[in-house]
């Protein structure tokens, strides 16, 4: 059921990750607070490792959103990425995650 187009795209994002973007990312504490605020039960906690992994996941999500928007802008011959480009790729992005 996986979308092969999405597969290729996310793997592209993931491969390029290691090289340059090691520095910028979500802080463990921010991610922890963010996710915890959505838990329905008070007793639900997030392990340290899970928080770190979710920070990585979020980063990939943002990078996917960004790169797909850029590709959309490129396909429309636009120099800048505008809201219409993002709106067009949003449905598939949400389905792929």
């Amino acid at each position: 059921m996986t979308n092969p187009y999405a597969e290729r795209q996310i793997s592209h994002s993931v491969e390029n990750m290691a090289e340059k973007d090691a520095e910028i990312g979500f802080k463990k504490e921010t991610v922890s607070k963010l996710l915890s605020s959505s838990f329905k039960e008070d007793k639900t906690r997030l392990s340290g490792d899970a928080a770190l992994l979710m920070a990585e996941l979020l980063k990939v999500f943002v990078q996917e959103a960004a790169v797909r928007s850029q590709k959309q802008a490129e396909s429309e011959d636009c120099d800048q990425v505008d809201i219409e480009h993002f709106e067009k790729i949003l449905p598939q992005l949400l389905l792929d995650f």
């Binding site: 996986t2 996310i10 996710l35 605020s37 906690r45 899970a50 770190l52 990585e56 995650f97």
Partner: protein, 121 residues
């Protein structure tokens, strides 16, 4: 009470927006196609909302496994829809485990040498 909660949410949103902005700036430079402010805000908002979806899934997975603490296993499940993403998260998880194993070995080594010194006295 709910005012504090809103404040916390606003601060979290701002933190997300900040990181998204930096990531987008980097990517804009790399691919020489920059993002309008509106797009950055939209991506940040989307990421923020997606966290709610992730959190609820994570909680459900943990509860299904009869745990109250969300673990890396739950995160791996959340990442299941894309093979590349799934593999990436699994590798990151392995990296974390390896770091912890190395740290344990390091500390065990320290303790051993401390013990032998004490027994000599």
């Amino acid at each position: 009470m709910s005012v504090d909660k809103d404040e916390t949410q606003q601060r979290l949103k701002a933190a997300v927006h900040y990181t998204v902005g930096r990531l987008c700036q980097r990517m804009g430079e790399d691919h020489r196609r920059e993002f309008s402010r509106q797009v950055i805000a939209a991506i940040a908002e989307t990421a923020f909302r997606q966290c709610d979806v992730f959190a609820k899934d994570l909680e459900a997975f943990a509860r299904h496994a009869k745990r109250s603490t969300v673990s890396s296993e739950d995160v791996k499940l959340v990442a299941r829809r894309s093979t590349a993403l799934s593999i990436y998260i699994q590798n990151k998880s392995e990296e974390l485990n390896q770091e912890q194993r190395d740290l344990k070995k390091k500390n065990a080594g320290k303790r051993k040498s401390r013990d032998t010194e004490e027994s000599r006295e």
